[in-house]
């Protein structure tokens, strides 16, 4: 979807403001939200793509006015309710009012923590040869999916060069469309800034995206 989350190149957000000696969390609840999100995702009801799409679905003004972990919280609650893991009356009560649904993987326990602390693998066997090779000039398609995609708007319609090939990976667009992992070749495609932003752009800037094969076409 063409949402406010797709921020590359947007003006008006002000200066970057690094915080010296920043703690892992600024408030206690932020850590709880992060940990809950990781734990719930590990239950296997939804995956990371759904987690990302859930944040994209927040109304634009909510996205822009909520802190990072508040966005996570709102997303997680929304998904919990949508998937029927909790219900609105329970949130109002602050307690469970009925038994939990049975989870195939059971309760997320202390012993499960180590597993979620290392990022999973998204590489999958390819079902076809790669259409592009390193050095190919490719155009990022001008597509505007109404659901989740990982092709940022600023790259769409623009021509770049294939720089790396990462094998076939789980394709987020398909996961969120309910079509399963649908593995696709993943490329690093490098663009000149002047191709992306016009003649006034920094002549010594190159920007790359990680592009799934369905995002690309031969020039």
């Amino acid at each position: 979807m063409d949402g406010v989350h797709d921020m590359g190149g947007m003006d008006g957000f002000g200066k970057v403001d690094p915080e010296p000696n920043e703690p892992a969390f600024h408030q206690r609840w932020e850590g709880r939200v992060l940990a809950m999100s990781r734990a719930i995702r590990a239950l296997g009801v939804w995956n990371i793509d759904w987690d990302r799409y859930g944040i994209e679905l927040l109304p634009p003004h909510v996205y822009l006015t909520s802190s990072y972990y508040k966005r996570w919280f709102l997303r997680t609650v929304q998904l919990l309710v949508q998937c029927g893991l909790i219900e609105a009356d329970e949130m109002a009560a602050g307690h469970s009012l009925r038994p939990g649904k049975g989870m195939d993987r059971g309760t997320f326990k202390l012993a499960d923590v180590e597993r979620v602390m290392r990022r999973g693998s998204f590489g999958r066997p390819a079902s076809a040869p790669a259409r592009f090779k390193i050095g190919d000039r490719v155009r990022a398609k001008n597509i505007h999916p109404t659901t989740h995609t990982r092709l940022p708007r600023y790259a769409r319609g623009h021509v770049g060069v294939v720089e790396r090939l990462h094998g076939a990976h789980v394709f987020p667009d398909s996961v969120v469309a309910g079509k399963g992992e649908d593995p696709q070749w993943l490329y690093t495609v490098r663009f000149d800034a002047q191709e992306l932003w016009g003649a006034d752009a920094d002549p010594k800037l190159k920007v790359s995206i990680e592009a799934f094969e369905p995002y690309l076409e031969h020039v």
């Binding site: 947007m10 850590g31 992060l34 309760t107 202390l110 602390m117 999973g120 940022p152 990462h166 990976h169």
Partner: protein, 191 residues
């Protein structure tokens, strides 16, 4: 927020989905174990050991996994090396993808709208916000982490560090320098 979050956690625990101790442990690990010191260890090794450096650039997940002090990290880690000609910077314009396995949780600025929006268009202005000025002739290469690949910047080893141990070198390597928003410290800064 504290109360709202606590209510949800209570419900999830009561329903048997999650265990409180598991959440405590995740938080503890991020607060105490998983942070930029891991990345600094990797970079110091790369600065010290040319064959490790090459392995790291060839397949960072594999190379990092060979370090006894780090152990296995997630797949798809990619190391990109700064040179006098090219300065690398990492961003996730769409959300907040970050090499947590080697750097811990991303700082707030990395997740900020300002960084996400600006670095792909005006990285030199962003670097100025960090007090960093690069020569105009240095190419800037921004890596937008739009998939599950994760980028780690290998900064340039500062001059005047000949003969330093890996442990000494690691003290120069800041988190920001491994994202490309900063440079390593100079030897006199850690003297």
């Amino acid at each position: 927020m504290e109360l709202r979050v606590r209510a949800i956690e209570t419900i999830l625990v009561e329903k048997g989905y999650i265990e409180t101790a598991a959440l405590d442990r995740i938080i503890e690990l991020y607060e105490t174990k998983i942070g930029p010191h891991i990345g600094a260890h990797v970079i110091a090794k790369a600065w010290s050991d040319p064959s490790f450096r090459q392995s790291l650039l060839d397949d960072a997940s594999k190379a990092v996994g060979t370090l006894a002090q780090v152990g296995r990290v997630g797949d798809h880690l990619v190391a990109v090396e700064n040179t006098p000609e090219v300065h690398n910077m990492v961003v996730c314009t769409l959300c907040s993808c970050y090499p947590t396995d080697v750097l811990g949780l991303p700082p707030t600025w990395y997740k900020s709208f300002a960084y996400r929006s600006r670095v792909v268009k005006e990285p030199r202005a962003v670097l100025a916000d960090f007090g960093v000025a690069l020569p105009a002739e240095t190419e800037i290469r921004v890596w937008d982490s739009t998939a599950e690949t994760r980028y780690l910047v290998v900064p340039m080893r500062p001059a005047g560090t000949e003969g330093w141990s890996e442990a000494q070198l690691a003290t120069l390597i800041t988190r920001d320098s491994m994202i490309g928003a900063g440079l390593p410290k100079k030897p006199r800064e850690v003297a």
